[in-house]
Amino acid sequence: MLHLTTGRVGCLLSKQAVVALTGSGARMSSHGHHEVSDSVDMSQPMYWDRLDTPLPDRPWKDVLDSTDKSLKQKEKGPWTALSKEEKIALYRLKFNHTYPEMKRPSHEWKTVIGGMFIFFGITGLVVFWQGHYVYPPQPPTFDEEWQAKQLQRMLDMRTNPIEGLSSQWDYKNKQWK
């Protein structure tokens, strides 16, 4: 179907971040077809709740009981004769979510951030365990004493005397500048 092959990418999104819920999940409400699995029959007209595509191919409720049918009959007459509840009922027959309901905020971000931190934590534990059990012993060159002797040797041979290490050492007073 043309709708899904273009993926509605060609449609314009409004400037603010609008999350349009696509109707790719199971859209079954009083649908006449017997669908066992979660997948949707793509050869049939689909229902969707999308901010950028207000009128889907089929109404939300396909199978109408007698009260619904009589309401639909009443819809053929003047709409001024309909009460508010009837108008709402007619809307709900045709559509699942209203626009504000489509735009309701979800708590998904908390799950995402929480999951992120959990994985950071697990990674941290793995790194710590690794440092303890996997790494070979530290070479002697990292000992304090060795490092001090190393630095002294570097200063003695005047390493980088112009702009680098030895230029920062005050040889007369034997301290850093």
Binding site: G10, C11, D52, L55, Y91, Y99
Partner: protein
Amino acid sequence: MRNWGGSVVHFNWRHTHTHTVYGYVQSCYTPLVQRCYAHGGKLESDEEFDARWVTYFNKADIDAWELRKGMNTLIGYDLVPEPKILEAALRACRRLNDLASAIRILEAVKDKSGPHKKIYPYLIQELRPTLEELGISTPEELGMD
């Protein structure tokens, strides 16, 4: 950005004229859509665009598919439709005995206005005679907001 016709749409907002209603000034914002055809035709003016869409919805024997297709395409454009287009669309809903779609159209144009909060009340104000004549309640009146 591209619309169905494959033409490139440039969009800018422009403050067109003011309305005086109930003693205070209400500004209306209409989009200045410059549509240039990809094959190099002339620019369609706002009036031509509006007239085209009004004619589309005014078709006496418009069917449900055409209504859906028209509305979905119109909402896909980077603009908020003029009241006269919406009026024609609402009347088409009436001919199709489809109140729910009429309310949905109102919701859709409110959403299209985005952060510009003044557009929707202006549209409702312009559409008020039609809404009352046809008996269409706004989503706010039905408590659906």
